[in-house]
């Protein structure tokens, strides 16, 4: 039976910032409702289900010092449960010194500028509660970006649970102010429902599951009513050491006495009852009843023993393992299946092994996780992530406005929804990432972790004249080889790496095969034995064991085995086989266990045992001295054992830019540039040259099928913006006029106005097959009404915000505008980055 917190030894602190002193922060009236309604529900009932007086301390619209002081006080006093709840504004800050992102909880006296100097960081909160002697700790955050808190990975001493309301990079709906905010309202609903349902105690994990159902319900309702900005809330949970089992609804009511006093009170009652029994004239009948009770008592040990036996049997029985789905490329499916067949939590360190035992139930030797590995070509996978809603809800009807387009059957045609993705290159993961940040996305991709490297090679059918096997450039090897064949770069990361290095138009047309595995299978006896551009791992089945089943048996296969040799171009970036955790938004029921299982799998692959298994299948791992080494089991004649470190892995934007030039994927686009021409951007301390070069290169990426327009803000007179150029083709004349529009104008910048005009321009000039792009170049737009600006944009358009400031993407308005967009700031080479982004954004 789940243990209830002790009321006297627990501390509940409910913090709500409903009103703010700085006008830059909008008041949140719903927060006040949050505190008063939660007070009665959190630990609000005793073990008999009776309401008990609330022991929660409410902190309404506190300042920073008061907030910190009360948190410290509660942490210091708690011995059983410490529960801290915060509702108010959240803020993300990117620290460019170490490239870390921190979540801040904004107190009522925090200014709008330099928020991080006044607000309470999650790290501070986490460290403070960690120092508490409380046996169990629960943090509940109802604020924007609260999901960022889950990135803080720290071991906890006792049971810990963190429950959040929003995704890491998203703000959330505040509600209408009449009643609690949406997340807290759902929390209240869940608490009450669980409590009323057979008097069930609400534990953290059950609450999280219920919250997930309610979030889905809210999302469906919002879609049905076509709300323009239903930025939905989404519950997240991290728990450690049994934190999911912490009870939040019931508490043991405080007694007046400590344990010895209570025992003495029981003894007094027993003695009193005995004397009254002796005075009773019906005592013989009562004595007979007592005998019956005694017989029952005698049978208790047997009952308990039997029950204990059943319990042992149940504890010994293993639950069905948690099923993980791991997606990779077709050529890696078989070897990675063999690698992951060796996955064993016993290879991990002690803490991770202990955590693994929280998955499922049963004996400690039970198999907790089952892994299924499957493969799909990279282009199909990227497309599937871009249409994650179709992938995750295959039962949805097709869009009626596209009757000519068949319904996507991604589950059937690509494969299961992955829990982890192992692309051959992290650049492929980045291709999919921007789409997964859009509002409609149902999936989140974690950060790729490299687990192996695979060189991209030229598999030569016979020795190449006058070249070495290593140290030569790709161009030199191609000249020596003459005709070569490769797969499509959309799905073959090796072909992409070769193509990027050689440059557009330098390689022959790719074979009509989707990937390296299919390229291999296209070889046939009787035909020529071509030189191949592919990855070293994909070459293995041609020259090693096990052979590719698709290649015809017999002497021909043996000939191929002896014929091919790998040449290693020194300037082609190696492929970094990466581990990417994948989280699906509606997978709430076992989210804690599933994410833990994925993390364990990733830790195993990145560790020693995983490394050995990968090397046994021909993948390369860093070894002593930093050299890449091939596994000793393999025949080294076709391969080179030790390779110098060489090039770093492929840059994702470079890869995407090359892909756009060869695949012709980008359809016609209508691009509206909204340029901030205020003094802070173009004045003496501004970035005129950077903005000019960015605009020039951005227009330079447009093709004859594209159109662009330019709006400037502020404008002369009292106009909030001016239309410098209407939608039209990217001619030299129009490009020059666009650059001329970069003239400083003094005035306030209210981006919502030109962004609304941009939406109208795109609507008025709508072409059926053209994608809409909005490019906003500004510094921080701090006077902008971000919500109004977002509301003015069209769902179907892609918005790219470019800040000329270092760390500009961290500024509040820019962050708000990038909810459904990507963002660039001056921390990187902006003109080149902008051009690369534009090549791949807004694909028709």
């Amino acid at each position: 039976m789940t243990e209830l917190p002790n009321a006297r030894r627990s501390r509940v602190l409910l913090i709500g910032a409903a009103t703010y002193e700085d006008d830059g922060w909008e008041d949140i009236p719903g927060v006040a409702h949050n505190l008063y309604e939660l007070r009665n529900e959190l630990l609000g009932h005793d073990e008999h289900g009776r309401s008990v007086p609330s022991r929660a301390r409410l902190l309404e619209s506190p300042g920073a010092e008061e907030m910190k002081g009360k948190i410290r006080s509660a942490a210091g006093a708690a011995r059983d449960l410490l529960l801290v709840y915060f509702s108010g504004h959240g803020h993300l800050h990117l620290d460019t010194r170490d490239d870390t992102t921190e979540l801040y909880l904004v107190p009522s006296d925090c200014p709008r500028e330099r928020v991080w100097e006044r607000a309470v960081s999650y790290t501070w909160l986490r460290n403070t509660v960690r120092s508490s002697r409380a046996r169990q700790v629960v943090l509940i955050l109802d604020c924007c970006y609260s999901g960022q808190a889950h990135q803080v990975e720290e071991p906890s001493q006792g049971a810990f649970a963190l429950l959040t309301s929003a995704r890491a990079r998203d703000d959330q709906d505040q509600g209408n102010g009449v009643g609690p905010t949406p997340f807290t309202q759902a929390l209240l609903v869940a608490l009450r429902a669980l409590r009323r349902d057979r008097g069930q105690r609400a534990i953290v994990s059950e609450l999280h599951a219920r919250l997930g159902e309610l979030a889905r319900r809210d999302r469906r309702r919002a879609e049905a009513s076509e709300l323009s900005h239903p930025n939905d809330w989404e519950p997240g949970l991290t728990e450690r050491r049994g934190g999911g089992e912490i009870v939040l609804s019931h508490v043991t009511a405080p007694r007046g006495a400590d344990l010895p006093d209570r025992l003495f009170a029981v003894w007094l009652r027993l003695r009193s009852a005995w004397w009254r029994f002796r005075a009773w004239r019906w005592w013989p009948a009562a004595a007979a009843g007592a005998v019956v009770l005694a017989l029952l008592a005698a049978s208790l040990p047997w009952l308990a023993w039997d029950r204990w036996q059943d319990g042992r049997a149940a504890a010994d029985r293993c639950s069905v393992p948690l099923q993980l789905r791991v997606l990779t490329t077709p050529e890696y499916q078989r070897p990675l299946s063999r690698v992951l067949a060796a996955f064993d939590v016993d290879d991990l360190d002690e803490e991770l092994r202990d955590r693994a035992r929280s998955i499922g139930s049963g004996h400690e030797d039970c198999r907790r996780v089952e892994v299924q590995v499957y493969g799909a070509p990279g282009a199909a996978v990227v497309d599937a992530f871009e249409h994650s809603a179709d992938w995750a809800s295959p039962g949805r009807p097709c869009a009626e406005e596209e009757p000519a387009e068949p319904c996507r059957e991604l589950l059937r045609d690509v494969g299961p929804l992955p829990d982890a993705w192992l692309p051959a290159s992290s650049a492929t993961a980045e291709r999919a990432r921007s789409a997964t940040r859009l509002r409609a996305s149902r999936v989140e991709l974690g950060e790729p972790v490299e687990i192996a490297r695979v060189p991209a090679v030229l598999a030569a059918a016979g020795p190449l004249p006058d070249v070495e096997r290593t140290g030569e450039s790709l161009v030199t090897l191609l000249e020596a080889a003459g005709d070569v064949r490769g797969a499509a770069p959309q799905s073959s990361e090796a072909a992409l790496a070769h193509g990027m290095t050689a440059g557009p138009g330098r390689l022959p047309e790719p074979e009509p095969v989707p990937d390296d595995a299919a390229l291999l299978c296209s070889l046939r006896p009787g035909g020529p034995s071509p030189h191949l551009l592919l990855s070293e791992s994909a070459m293995l089945p041609l020259v090693g064991d096990p052979p590719a089943a698709c290649l015809p048996e017999g002497g021909w296969r043996a000939t191929m085995r002896d014929l091919y040799t790998a040449y290693y171009p020194s300037d082609v970036p190696p492929l970094d086989l990466s581990f990417v955790p994948v989280r699906w938004r509606d997978a709430d029921r076992d989210a804690v266990e599933r994410q833990l299982a994925v993390a364990l799998l990733g830790a195993w692959l990145a560790g020693e045992a995983g490394g050995d298994a990968l090397r046994a299948e021909g993948f390369r791992r860093w070894r002593d001295g930093g050299y890449l080494r091939a596994p000793e089991q393999f025949n080294e004649r076709p391969f080179v054992a030790d390779l110098p470190r060489g090039e770093d892995v492929a840059d994702a934007d470079r890869a995407a830019a090359y892909l756009a030039t060869v695949t012709d994927e980008a359809g016609p686009r209508d691009v509206v540039f909204v340029l901030d021409v205020s003094n802070s951007v173009l004045g003496p301390d501004g970035r005129l040259s950077t903005v000019r070069e960015s605009l020039r290169q951005a227009i330079g990426t447009l093709t004859d099928e594209d159109r662009f327009a330019v709006l400037t803000t502020p404008a002369t007179g009292d106009a909030p913006y001016g239309v410098a150029l209407d939608l039209g083709p990217p001619t030299d004349d129009r490009t020059a006029r666009a650059l001329d529009a970069l003239t400083e104008v003094r005035g306030d910048v209210l981006l919502q106005e030109p962004m609304a005009e941009a939406a109208e321009l795109l609507t008025a000039g709508q072409r059926p097959d053209a994608a809409g792009l909005l490019v906003v170049i500004t510094d921080d737009g701090h006077l902008t009404d971000a919500r109004a600006a977002l509301a003015a944009t069209r769902e179907e358009d892609t918005t790219l915000v470019v800040s000329v400031l270092d760390g500009g993407c961290d500024r509040p308005v820019v962050q708000a505008l990038t909810t459904a967009a990507t963002c660039l700031d001056n921390a990187v080479n902006q003109p080149v980055e902008l051009a690369a982004k534009l090549r791949v954004l807004g694909e028709g």
Partner: protein, 473 residues
């Protein structure tokens, strides 16, 4: 006086209550009921009966939608067995999947039940249905009905008459059939599914049953009861079947569709093929057009029983409607007869339309269905728009063959850890086959490893091979 009720008695009762009480994992509760215009979602593996996926399952769903106020939508899963199972299981475990009716392989039922993912069915609604053989038992677990047979399946032996003139199709085993045909020919004798997936496990079990007809690896409680001697016998039989002078090498990378390509594909051909009933029409469409005659008969020795059952997801908010749909799909003779016409083996006995009942069917030796010398186009039946099939089997003859094959078939082990059981077989037998056939040491070592690993796997324990066994086999 009420307060004087002896505290000891209260303590006793409380203790009894605690002892008598039990605990079990919290059941999955259904989500909120969607509006009526949201269709029931039926999830199923790819329908191999039709290469363009316009198969019989979809046509049955279409028929339901014409009559029912609550519509249904078919969602197809990945084509490979392992991927399909992983998706349905993980989708339901995580709560991301919103399925109502699940079309599950019969070997998956115990696992899904133990995971709490299936809702018990209403016995009264389905109890009167008469299924062929004992296949309704495949839908039961712990004496409760969780799934109803939709199709059954059984391994069959297909043969090309142009390549089997000297082959004794009535021989007791495949190696005996080989003796009628010289080895090493350009068109091999036999093709089957030996890729590392469930198809390989099926072949291994069939080899085991041929070698030891009453062999069991798992008892009724799910415990492992095999022995190394038993396993050695089965592996020896498998090695004899995979004699490289007779076996098509493509078998090592083939699934059901790949096998069919080897048997009937252009510029290919094998004399014999092991496959399921779905392959009949597809083989006919290929070979008859080329003037090649073929036939189908029972496998020598017990064949594996397959099939798919229909179940209701535990979290489906429309369980009643889902059961009605299942009743339509599985319980209507018309629906089942269409399965037979599409090549599947129906689950409902009535769909076979055989006279005289179970006890009267003569399952003779040599029971076969063959293409005639000059097959006439089947009038009034078209599989694809504008095309009529060149040949379809006589319904009664084919139904009789299937009936007999199903009744003689054997089920694979019923255990919640069936996936783990199959994985051990796949890994170890693949290793054995790659290491070179005919080595006594190889068979003995493989049998010992399988024996040790299965004992662990069938108790749900970890069963990884030792590090030394990791090799690029």
């Amino acid at each position: 006086m009420r307060r004087g009720v002896p505290t000891a008695a209260c303590a006793l009762l409380l203790a009894t209550a605690c002892v008598a009480g039990g605990g079990s994992p919290p059941p999955i509760t259904p989500g909120p009921t969607p509006p009526d215009d949201v269709p029931l979602v039926v999830v199923s593996a790819l329908d191999l009966s039709s290469p363009d996926q316009s198969g019989v399952r979809q046509s049955l769903i279409d028929e339901w939608n014409e009559e029912s106020p609550i519509k249904a939508r078919l969602v197809e899963l990945p084509s490979t067995d392992g991927d399909a199972r992983a998706e349905v299981l993980a989708g339901l475990q995580s709560g991301a999947a919103e399925y109502d009716v699940l079309n599950l392989d019969i070997t998956w039922i115990p696992e899904f039940v133990e995971a709490g993912l299936l809702r018990p069915l209403d016995e009264e609604r389905f109890g009167a249905l008469d299924f062929v053989a004992d296949i309704e038992e495949t839908g039961r677990w712990d004496d409760e009905l969780y799934a109803v047979p939709f199709t059954t399946d059984v391994g069959l032996l297909y043969y090309r008459r142009d390549l089997t003139e000297t082959v004794d199709l009535g021989a007791d085993s495949l190696p005996e059939m080989y003796t009628g045909r010289p080895g090493g020919q350009s068109k091999p004798t036999y093709v089957t599914q030996l890729r590392p997936y469930e198809g390989l496990t099926v072949n291994v079990m069939e080899a085991l049953w041929r070698a030891v007809p009453d062999a069991r690896l798992v008892d009724d409680s799910g415990a492992y009861v095999g022995t190394t001697a038993l396993l050695e016998a089965g592996l020896e039989e498998l090695l004899a079947i995979t004699d490289e002078s007779h076996l098509a090498a493509a078998s090592y990378g083939a699934d059901e569709s790949g096998t069919l390509e080897e048997f009937a594909g252009e510029d290919r051909g094998t004399a014999l093929m092991r496959n399921w009933p779905f392959a009949l029409n597809r083989v006919a469409d290929r070979l008859v057009a080329e003037g090649v005659q073929f036939g189908v008969t029972r496998l020598p020795g017990p064949a594996a029983l397959g099939g798919q059952n229909l179940a209701v997801a535990a979290d489906s908010p429309r369980a009643e409607a889902a059961q009605e749909l299942i009743r339509f799909l599985a319980g209507e003779p018309g629906s089942q007869e269409r399965m037979l016409a599409a090549g599947f083996a129906p689950a409902l006995a009535e769909a076979y339309q055989l006279p005289d009942g179970v006890g009267e069917i003569a399952c003779e030796d040599g029971l076969r269905v063959e293409t005639p010398e000059d097959p006439d186009p089947v009038s009034g039946r078209s599989e694809e728009a504008g095309e009529e099939p060149l040949w379809r089997p006589d319904p009664r003859a084919y139904a009789t063959l299937l009936w007999c094959a199903v009744h003689e078939a054997r089920g694979r082990p019923a255990t919640p850890y069936y996936r783990q059981f199959s994985r051990v077989i796949e890994e170890e037998v693949t290793r054995l086959l790659a290491g070179g056939a005919g080595s006594a040491g190889g068979v003995e070592e493989a049998a010992q490893r399988i024996d040790g690993r299965l004992e662990l796997a069938l108790r749900g324990r970890t069963y990884q091979p030792s590090r030394s066994s990791l090799s690029p086999h």
